[in-house]
Amino acid sequence: MSDPATTRVEITAEGSNLSRPAELWMTRDLLLILAGRDIKLRYRQTVLGAAWVVVQPLLAAAIFAFIFGRVARLPSEGVPYFVFAFTGFVLWNFISQVITRVTASLVGNAHLVSKVFFPRLVLPLASALSSLLDLAVASCMLGALLVLSRQPLSPEILLAPLWILVALAFALGTGLIAAALVVSYRDVQHVLPVALQLLLFISPVAYATTAIPSGTDSWYSLNPLVGVVEGFRASLLASPPPTLSSAAYAIVATLALVLLGVVAFTRMERQFADVI
């Protein structure tokens, strides 16, 4: 790495001669340190400190359970509503956090983007990485809830990490496109909360898919998160799993999305410092 002969960089308007994956790999330490920074900063100078990681999702889930379970009485496939909703909510919370943080990762670090070079992909990746901590904490709480409410565990629980990975890819793909756009068009920042709310309502987080009127379900299943949320929940609870086609569609659509995200991001990447 310190051998001058091996680090000959040629820069033109089209790009450099170095391969992106190799450069990204070289900056893996930066990735970890930035993710660590995001986590530290989130809870510094708060009274409860890291306890917020636990308290925040609990509060949110309680509100959720009250509104949708008690007031709206949404169906939950025979599973206690709080357990049903909290399971979906853990995954949804992760998805929405990753999308939000990844979207803000470039603009929030504008001072770095305009003053120093590193593969720009490090910033959104570090944001996504830092959200894994929140997910880990929420997962522990979910595990405790499942044990306390005596939910029968099946070997399908091994599929849960796979669905988390698909959820991460979905959120990362969406976030990368939004992050690249927000550099030029801050409008995205205003659209995003509304779009996330819409996405939440068209995903089976607070209700089971059986609540969807049969005439609209072909439109409804265009959302890849339907398969993702259903799959995740079915791996943990005794709720019906997604159909094979729904699961396959979720995975293929998500892969396409993350690919699109990376391509869009890297194509716009070189102009970030000039526009941000």
Binding site: R8, V9, I11, T12, A13, D29, L30, I33, F117
Partner: protein, 422 residues
């Protein structure tokens, strides 16, 4: 593009497309214009060339200074070299790991502690975690902040903050170091320390590209300097000459119209007092000239409005070295007038100064001429850098030894002897 050069630029240009004011004011204007087609869009934007056709090479282990006015393109050049922004055309080749320091404290976060910021900033500047850990003690020692390692840097004094930030950068282990105006911060003692650290980088055989407004620092670090003006390389060569070109172009108030003749350039609002320097001529005993030798005679003739009213106004001048440092200066009030000028007719003016033996070593110099009210001492007019001249090396001691500017700007007419032995 030899294999020896660490940095090589081949016809590099950088254009920024800026939107005109009226187009930018309409919120949807940008989007709408895209729909109406490229021809309309082009009419509403202007291209601004921040860098134009810049080519140069820096050899491995060389220290290159880069000077120029604000907005001349220095920062854009460094951003292109640091890969922060791509060139619009042309090619840059960097052989070696690049560390760039375009600001003090890149990546520092006020909420994080000194220790956390060392790792964060180090990683952002391109160091591996292991490397930072390896140099951690040296960084802390350099910054003199051992006691405050666990304190958030927002509680640091600005001096401590700058010291820690520079300390991280000073321990970057890159073959090519790109540094922008970072010595402008910190106290004098710390500035010296930074300068010494950068000198060490050079002695290690690493390549340094150094932008600064601190001419003394440029002179100290860099034998060769690039002078950038309007996005172009205006001068590329020995630092002394680059500094001369820069100080000559910067704030210059006189234009040379003939050998040794400098006419004052008109400026707004400069004739209010009614006293004004209009022309400065330089000459030797033989006539007008702008090249002198150490110890040779020099005459400075000043013409202007109201200068002959010597009861009301007094004339003074100051000689500046290439780096802009004042070397010597006199004012008429210091001495009673001589009965008649010793200068040749070509070099006498409303007021003429005569220097019997010019006490300057070889180099480029410039001249400020000023007018003051004789009673109140108020400044009536000041023509900065109104004239420039050069002093050439010569066998002034008649020993075969030609003094250079490395001895300093002042030429000493000296004698010496040794007690005879035995």
């Amino acid at each position: 593009m030899s294999s020896e050069s660490a940095v090589s630029l081949d016809q590099v240009s950088k254009y920024y497309r800026i939107r005109r004011a009226e187009a930018a004011s309409a919120p949807l204007g940008h989007v709408l214009r895209r729909r109406t087609g490229p021809r309309l869009a082009r009419a509403k934007t202007e291209e601004l060339a921040a860098l134009e056709d810049v080519s140069f090479e820096v050899a491995r282990g060389e220290a290159l200074g880069i000077i120029g006015r604000n907005g001349a393109g220095k920062s854009t050049l460094l951003k292109v070299l640091s890969r922060i922004t791509p060139p619009s055309t042309g090619r840059v080749v960097l052989s070696g790991r690049v560390g760039s320091l375009l600001e003090v404290g890149t990546g520092f976060h006020p909420e994080l502690t000194g220790r956390e910021n060392i790792f964060l900033s180090g990683a952002i500047l391109g160091m591996r975690r292991r490397e930072i850990g390896h140099r951690f003690d040296a960084i802390v020692e350099f910054a003199e902040t051992t006691r405050f390692l666990e304190t958030p840097v927002k509680r640091y004094s600005s001096g401590m903050y700058v010291r820690l930030a520079f300390a991280v950068a000073a321990h970057l282990d890159s073959e090519i170091l790109i540094v922008d105006e970072v010595l402008a911060v910190g106290d004098a003692q710390f500035q010296r320390k930074c300068l010494a650290a950068m000198g060490e980088v050079r002695r290690d055989g690493r390549t340094v590209l150094f932008v600064s407004h601190n001419m003394a620092a440029i002179e100290y670090l860099c034998p060769r300097t690039l002078y950038i003006e309007g996005g172009r390389v205006s001068f590329d060569g020995p630092t002394g000459s680059a500094l001369a070109a820069y100080s000559g172009a910067k704030g210059r108030t006189g234009a040379q119209t003939a050998v040794g003749v400098f006419e004052r350039v008109e400026e707004l609002g400069s004739t209010l007092s009614g006293y004004r320097v209009k022309r400065v001529r330089l000459g030797s005993d033989d006539g007008l000239q702008d090249i002198f030798r150490p110890g040779s005679p020099m005459h400075i003739a000043v013409d202007g409005d109201g200068l002959t009213n010597t009861d009301d106004v007094e004339v003074g001048f100051r000689i500046r070295s290439a780096s802009g440092v004042s070397v010597a200066g006199v004012r008429a009030v210091m001495r009673a007038p001589s009965p008649r000028p010793k200068a040749p007719a070509a070099a006498t003016g409303d007021v003429t100064f005569s220097i019997a033996r010019l006490p300057l070593n070889p180099g480029a110099y410039s001249l400020d001429v000023g007018l003051n009210d004789r009673r109140t001492d108020a400044e009536l007019d000041l023509a900065e850098h109104v004239a420039t001249f050069e002093v050439l090396a010569s066998d002034v001691y008649e020993s075969g030894y030609r003094p250079t500017d490395s001895e300093g700007p002042v030429f000493l007419d000296f004698s010496w002897f040794a007690r005879s032995g035995g």
